[in-house]
């Protein structure tokens, strides 16, 4: 954030690098004294003191007198500029929370693994506690938090109700109201794929892409088309890639349709053929084993990827996106998952033969960051005006 017209190697550039290191350290630790800053960054106490003074003048950080080991100390934290927004991503096995002010530079992030079929009451309680603790860690309080963007998986694109199957037992839960009641803050519930697409558009691989497709492959498949930096919703359910029919004679999906992509490429569909040889496996275990080279797990991941690839190729043929970003847990298996998708797209003569067409997401927290961007848009019209798309 301190990129200026300074010659490399000069004293000025050294100072900028040092000050960037200090800002990074303050971000990482939330509240930290100057003595600790010098120990973390390896800079001398005098340098730290000078740079902190400069950052204080620039309004980047704030300081507070405190004591450590009985001595007086200056505690440094990021300046609580404007209001903080919170992005939350509740998935079937994990909860991610990110925190940032309107500059969108993350000041705090935390991930909590969740149990299988976690209950809505426990998880929402823990979400609320985690938000409060995270705010405290970055030197803010609940009063500084303006709103919460919450991304959840939905199997059906329409409306933002917890999806059929993805979050078991959450179907009739009014998440936004329950969480708003716990936090006394505005809560915006968004579809996981839409949050991920917005995140990629603002911070990731879809920046500056006119027409982009974000495909989220975790327990179920979902997608979101971004047109000119705005999610395309159609009549409401656009992007429900998991409910595209891929096997006309296939199994019945939870939605009631036959042969949906989700019956072929969901966590359950992946675990089923492994049951005899590997025993019951969670999606995370399958992903890890596939990344480690387990042949059986690689096979089911590759099969799922081929099915997803076919659906993505159909969508790409119809919509001609300039870029397709693959996110979600399965993207973590890397080429095992990406290669069959690329192959499926390459087999369509209409589509450009460009390996850069399909890219994996760079940030596993992108969905939470997208939810964060959306809540900032919602709480202040002037806030996140960076959607130049």
């Amino acid at each position: 954030m301190f990129v200026g017209a300074v010659a490399p190697g000069s004293q000025g550039s050294l100072r900028e690098a040092n000050s960037a290191r200090i800002v990074e350290a303050v971000k990482a630790y939330g509240r930290i004294t100057q003595v600790e800053l010098s120990s973390v960054t390896g800079l001398s106490a005098a340098t730290v003191s000078n740079i902190v003074k400069q950052l204080l003048d620039q309004g980047v950080v704030q300081t507070r007198a405190t004591t450590r080991s009985g001595r007086r100390a200056q505690e440094v934290s990021l300046a609580a500029s404007s209001s903080l927004g919170v992005g939350v991503h509740i998935a079937s096995r994990s909860l991610s929370v990110v925190l940032a002010d309107s500059s969108m530079a993350l000041s705090g992030a935390q991930r909590l693994p969740l149990p299988v079929e976690h209950r809505s009451d426990t998880t929402l309680d823990r979400t609320a506690l985690l938000i409060a603790e995270l705010a405290d860690q970055v030197g803010a309080s609940m009063d500084d938090i303006a709103g919460v963007g919450l991304a959840i998986p939905t199997a059906l694109g329409a409306g933002v109700r917890p999806g059929l199957g993805a979050l078991t037992g959450w179907i009739d839960v009014d998440i936004d109201q329950l969480l708003a009641a716990r936090l006394q803050r505005q809560v915006l519930v968004v579809r996981e794929a839409e949050a991920g697409a917005v995140g990629e558009t603002r911070f990731g691989a879809l920046r500056g892409v006119g027409v982009g497709l974000f495909v989220h492959v975790a327990d179920t498949v979902d997608a979101c088309l971004m047109v000119g930096g705005v999610p395309f919703r159609g009549a409401g359910s656009a992007g429900a890639l998991g409910h595209v029919r891929v096997e006309p004679g296939g199994a019945i999906c939870r939605c009631g349709g036959r042969g949906c992509l989700n019956t072929v490429a969901s966590a359950e569909a992946l675990a089923e053929p492994l049951r005899v040889s590997h025993g019951p496996m969670s999606l995370r275990a399958i992903v890890r084993a596939a990344a480690d080279g387990d042949p059986g797990c690689r096979q089911v991941v590759a099969d799922a990827a081929a099915a997803v690839g076919g659906a993505v190729a159909d969508a790409a043929t119809l919509l001609a996106p300039q870029r397709v970003v693959i996110g979600g847990d399965l993207a973590a298996t890397g080429e095992v998952f990406l290669a069959p998708i690329r192959e499926a797209l390459r087999s369509r003569p209409v589509l450009p033969r460009d390996d850069g067409l399909v890219v994996p997401t760079e940030d596993p927290q992108m969905v939470a960051r997208g939810a964060l961007a959306l809540i900032h848009d919602a709480i202040g019209p002037a806030a996140g005006a960076s959607s130049e798309g």
């Binding site: 350290a25 990482a28 630790y29 939330g30 930290i32 004294t33 003595v35 600790e36 800053l37 120990s39 973390v40 450590r68 080991s69 096995r93 935390q110 991930r111 909590l112 693994p113 969740l114 149990p115 299988v116 079929e117 976690h118 209950r119 426990t122 823990r126 506690l129 985690l130 603790e133 995270l134 860690q137 675990a271 590997h278 025993g279 019951p280 496996m281 969670s282 275990a285 890890r288 084993a289 387990d294």
Partner: protein
Amino acid sequence: MDRSAPLLSLRSLSKHFGGVRALVDVDLDVHRGEVVALVGDNAAGKSTVARIVAGVYAPDAGTLHLNGECLALTSPAAAFPHGIATVFQEFALAENLDVVDNIFLGRELRTRGLLDRPRMEELARSYLRQLNARIPDLGVPLHQLSAGQRQCVAIARTLVRQPQLVVLDEPTASLSVSQTAEVLSYIEGLRDLGLGVILISHNLNDVRAVADRIAVLRHGRNNGTFDTATASYEDILSAVTGATRHEKHD
């Protein structure tokens, strides 16, 4: 991964304390890259298993195999060279010493007879970084750290000996949610490093979040093993309390 031979295999483990039967014929397997949770009521024998694996207690009967080799652990010091590291509930940390001293307590690095403090600090930082721990100053005495940070130091301590098996006794007890999140993420990290982990906990939420398998102890006996991917809260709770359908099959 389940097909390979287990890293740790306990068979027919029994332990008596006077008239109290703490463990009766307990079996337990832990594979590499697997987190096995040990749950049960108070006095179900969870900590006794941990202490036997750590070499604190010798079992009255039964065997302990590590990598297929039968071990008779007579003291915690005997367990270290085999790559077994344990973090107990009341972890043995020195409150008045700083973070680096605690991590290397009793295992200080030396170069030519002198303490190699810079090297120890560097390693301590790398362990804590793997933990994603937020401890800025490694020179502060431990009593100034939060409960979660102390837990991180206790777990970081186990990494010094490059263990194969880590036993964690109630690592999330009395931690806040964000500290719990850190500890749970770290347990996932241990598993991803390919280590075997025994996680002892009361909190079924935490256990079901990170464990691959859940072994239930009840009155010192095995009362069922569950795959986390398929077992529900109700299944596990009923095995813990013994109020149920699982009892019928015994």
